[in-house]
Amino acid sequence: MYRYVIKRVLLAILTVFIVSAITFFSMNAIPGGPFSSEKAPSAEVKAALEARYNLDKPVPEQFVIYMGNFLRGDLGVSLKTGRNISTVIGESFPISARLGGAAAAIATLVGLVLGSVAALKRNSILDRIIIFFTTLATAAPSFVLGTILLYVFCIKLGWAPVWSPDSPHYVLPVIALSMYPMAYITRLTKTSMLDALGQDYVRTANAKGVSGMKVIFKHALRNAVIPVITYVGPMTAYILTGSLVVESIFTIGGLGSKFVDSITNRDYTLIMGTTIFLAVLMVTVNLITDLVYKVIDPRIKLD
């Protein structure tokens, strides 16, 4: 067990390191430094600025300095606004976390319920409706869904106000973000629930007269949830990247829209900082789900 945990943690650290290295060196490969923009400061000022941000040193050394700062929580300053990137992330991430967290929770809950219902009422009209709906939902990209929701409910019907920091309105963006993972979890739950319902232990439980509800919750669902846990990692990745577009559609000032802005503005240090931050987040979630997965189901062998 410990060997496995250590191995996974090392792999996670290596992944973060590789992401950082790719990000850092590829950003440095872009022609034109941060101070060679339209403002064009004098040569002396430029040299002073470059010395200030260690840009006069060779690139590998800059990388070592950057990683050192990163470990201390310092990701440098934005090229466009001059603000500290750690501050920008610190301000905007809670909004994204709330949005993403709500989307993940709703997707999991609704997905589990719909999937179980579809499995228990197999081939009924309800099952068909659920499967039709989820098949459709897996084909709609989040940005299309978000834009349509925005148009219908904010602009045409006026049911929901447009998002503002003072009156945050999370319903529509959460729906846009949670639809795809919800559909996926529904299908996943249906499959694994059907599988669990056909197992011997369910038959035994039924035979010895355990009540229907108890069989479903205690025997079938508990086993059916296990494959769903493996999807938590990919779901986090989907929600994080999905929030990039959903946030900019609903003009939510979270980390996602900051990232999209940094791409449009070609604010390379902000792109770098956000990418590394999100990568660390994803790798951590993946690590935790993998470990939890092995702990929950003792049948799974560690290797």
């Binding site: 792999l11 349509i148 990247t241 993946n286």
Partner: protein, 358 residues
């Protein structure tokens, strides 16, 4: 038979010999019942037969064929260009801005009154007086070809990498699979965004004057990123398939008769895992279309004026209040194409690989 009955010696009372006189001769009709009714079938024919029985898969296939026909032939029939402003009788029509579907501009109406014929704007026009139907058609062309090319690239790289790793096994496999593990754990879409930004900035000037410049550095960047990152899933799948197949006796027999690695891979291993690989390639197409439209939506997709479904949806956001249909058309096309590929992929999986059926 009659003769045989007569030739038989008189039956002893206790004899267990069968009495032929009690048997009847089978008529021609009865004989035919013994014929094998179904013709012998190949794996491919059998799978196709099952596929054809799946109405969703057939419907998807018909829809995709229709889409392909439209994107091939529409530019030959519709006299408008996706990149330039509408012209009426050779004159640039600046009044044809943001028209509704099937609406005509003043110049067009005038020209029609004079007896000229104007092809209707099936989906209206955009803010730069371009026919929107043609833009959607070209957008679909771009999105579909990106999806197909990216999937084929993933297939080729994954197939090569996975089969080498799976076939040779041992240390080679260990090292190759570690690399796959690391790439697999990278947050893919973030890397795609990052590399697209970088490749655009660095490729932009390098491509000038070549044939690739027409595609745009964004699209090249997308392909490069796909080739770098997305093959790992395919490589894992292929390796897993090969590991199971290579332990079969027929592979051992081939080895014993002196077949070389290349021949065993080509003749024994690939034919046995081809259906799984083919299905997973079909399911790769919608995911590539998704990625492309996502990047286009972020402004990292194909270069202007070339449209893609994602960038059309992105531009449509600007005038969403006044011209919602501009979002509707590309959105519906993306959803239907992705849906069809998903359903077709599921159908193929059910038809050709019953083991994978969920």
């Amino acid at each position: 038979m009659e003769k045989a009955v007569q030739q038989m010696p008189k039956k002893n009372l206790l004899s267990s010999q069968i009495d032929l006189s009690k048997f009847e001769k089978a008529t021609e009709e009865e004989k035919r019942q013994q014929d094998v009714m179904s013709e012998s079938t190949t794996f491919f024919k059998d799978g196709m037969k099952r596929l054809m029985k799946n109405p969703l898969a057939v419907g998807s296939m018909i829809f995709l064929i229709l889409v392909i026909l439209v994107i091939i032939f529409a530019p030959m029939i519709v006299p408008y260009d996706y990149a330039s402003i509408n012209t009426v009788n050779g004159v640039r029509d600046k009044g044809a801005k943001n028209m509704k579907p099937f609406e005509y501009s003043e110049m067009e109406l005038e020209y029609m009154a004079q007896g000229g014929t104007v092809f209707p704007h099936i989906m209206g026009t955009d803010e730069q007086c371009r026919d929107y139907f043609m833009r959607v058609v070209y957008g679909t062309r771009v999105s579909l070809s990106v999806g197909l090319v990216a999937s084929v690239m993933v297939l080729i790289i994954g197939l090569l990498y996975g089969s080498i790793s799976g076939y040779f096994g041992g240390k080679v496999d260990l090292v190759m699979m570690r690399i796959v593990d690391i790439i697999y754990s990278l947050p893919d879409l973030l890397m795609v965004i990052l590399l697209s930004v970088v490749l655009q900035a660095t490729l932009g000037t390098a491509l000038e004057g070549t044939i690739l410049a027409r595609l745009g550095s964004n699209l090249i960047a997308l392909f490069v990123v796909y080739a770098l990152l997305y093959w790992v899933g395919m490589a894992r799948l292929v390796r897993g398939q090969i590991l199971t197949i290579k332990n079969n006796d027929y592979v051992l027999a081939a080895k014993a008769t002196g077949a070389k690695s290349g021949r065993i891979i080509k003749k024994h291993i690939i034919p046995n895992c081809i259906s799984v690989i083919f299905i997973s390639t079909a399911l790769q197409v919608p995911s590539a279309i998704f990625t492309e439209s996502y990047l286009s939506f972020l402004g990292l997709g194909v270069a202007n004026p070339m449209p893609s479904l994602g960038s059309l949806a992105n531009y449509a956001r600007g005038g969403l209040n006044s011209y919602p249909y501009k979002l509707l058309f590309p959105a519906v096309v993306i959803i239907l194409i992705v849906l069809s590929f998903n359903l077709l992929g599921d159908g193929l999986r059910d038809a050709f690989d019953p083991k994978l059926k969920k």
